[in-house]
Structure formats: structure tokens, C-alpha cells
């Protein structure tokens, strides 16, 4: 599962049988610092309460259809929860800050294009450090 931001809705009159009444939302997947990562996609809303602007988590692949009332529908991404908070656990971070995506790794290492946002690799919010 991954975090995502709902950024729009999809209106479709003619759909595959089984998709009637299923709400379709456009979502932007996020990394764990809530920065956009990857391309936007359409996901079915399995909680019936997600709307634009909301922070959600979604499941992909066959499990997405399992989240729907009828599990035999052509759905490959489904929103399965609305996020109240993403809590960073105390002691989870190593000294020197969090291992932000694309940071602190040797040149040429890691996946190319893992951070495709073009933004500064610095986290947008200051991180709490454990007090000495």
C-alpha cells in the first residue's frame, strides 16, 4: 500500500458491468514525506468517503478488486483508507536525519527516476531529532 492525495474525480457513463455505482478518483501517489512521486492514476473508492484534497492510502493489483463489494470487477487500484496522520515513530530515524528518497546515496546508485518531482530533496518540514 502507498500514500496518495486525491486530486480529482472521474465521471464515466459507460462502464464495464460491475462498475456501476463505483466512485472513481484521480490520485497522485506520494512518498512518505508526502511529496508527489510517479504518475497520477485512477483508483476506485472502496471507503465511499474519500474526496478531492484528502490524504488516503491505496492498494494495487488483485487486492484492489477484493476491496469492492463485488470482488470480481475490473479494478486495479482502490482507495482502502483515509489517513488521519502519518506518525514517525520515536527512535525510527537514524542520526543525521531520515533517509529521504534520493538523498545520501552514492552517485549512480538506486533507481533512476525514483525522485521525479524535480523538487529539492530537502524535506519540506523540519524533522524532530531525539534530544541528547
Amino acid at each position: 500500500m502507498q500514500l496518495a492525495r486525491v486530486i480529482g474525480t472521474v465521471v464515466a457513463t459507460i462502464k464495464s458491468p460491475g462498475l456501476e455505482g463505483v466512485k472513481l478518483l484521480v490520485i497522485q501517489p506520494l512518498d512518505r514525506a508526502l511529496r508527489p512521486v510517479g504518475s497520477q492514476l485512477v483508483a476506485a473508492d472502496a471507503v465511499h468517503m474519500a474526496g478531492p484534497g484528502e490524504l488516503v492510502y491505496f492498494v494495487a493489483a488483485r487486492e484492489a478488486a477484493q476491496a469492492m463489494p463485488d470482488p470480481f470487477v475490473p479494478v486495479d487500484h482502490a482507495i482502502v483508507g483515509i489517513v488521519d496522520a502519518v506518525e514517525t515513530l520515536a527512535g525510527a530515524e537514524r542520526p543525521g536525519g531520515p533517509p529521504a528518497v534520493g538523498r545520501g546515496r552514492p552517485a549512480g546508485g538506486g533507481r533512476p527516476g525514483a525522485r521525479a518531482t524535480g523538487k529539492s530533496p530537502r524535506a519540506p518540514t523540519p524533522r524532530r531529532r531525539p534530544r541528547p
Binding site: Q2, R32, V47, R62, E63, Q66, D84, L89, G91, A114
Partner: protein, 100 residues
Amino acid sequence: MKLGRVVGTVVSTINAPAFDGRTLLVCDLLDPSGRPSGGYLIAVDSVGAGAGETVLILDEGNGARQVLRAPGAPIRTVVVGIVDAVVEPSATGARHRRRR
């Protein structure tokens, strides 16, 4: 299966019924030497993993539902173990034991 490090939790009150009472862990994915490889996953906890621990993540739906005894649940990613050490054979033939 994948190696990960638990870095946080996701708090959610409105979710699919299968997630009621389950802990969602935010896990950075690691390469075998323990460095973050860039990605992350939100996984359902099944072993009581805690902050900063290196864990074994199962990212496959059928196995995940068997582990959780939740047939039909829309769950694919489960933390199934807590890693004590990863042993890597080195070029010299000596065995390095990396403690977590």
C-alpha cells in the same frame, strides 16, 4: 519478500472493514546491506514490530491473507518477521554478519 525498516505508522479511522484493529506500518525498503533503496511500503503488522526495526515484508496477496487469516481482505503487504541479522558472503570468502 523484502527487507524494510519501520519508520512510522499510519493512523486511519475511515478505512475498509478488513483494516479494523490492524496496525499499519510505514516501512522504508532496504537493500541487503541495510541502506534505504528509495521506496517505501505501508504494511499490515503481524508480528508486533516496533520503531527502527528491520523487518521482513511479504508483498504478495495470497500469502498475506493466509498469514492474517483474512480471506477476501484487500491486503497485500504484511510484516511477517523481525530481522536479527543479514549475513552476506564477502569477496574474500569471509562471512560478514551485519547486526541490526
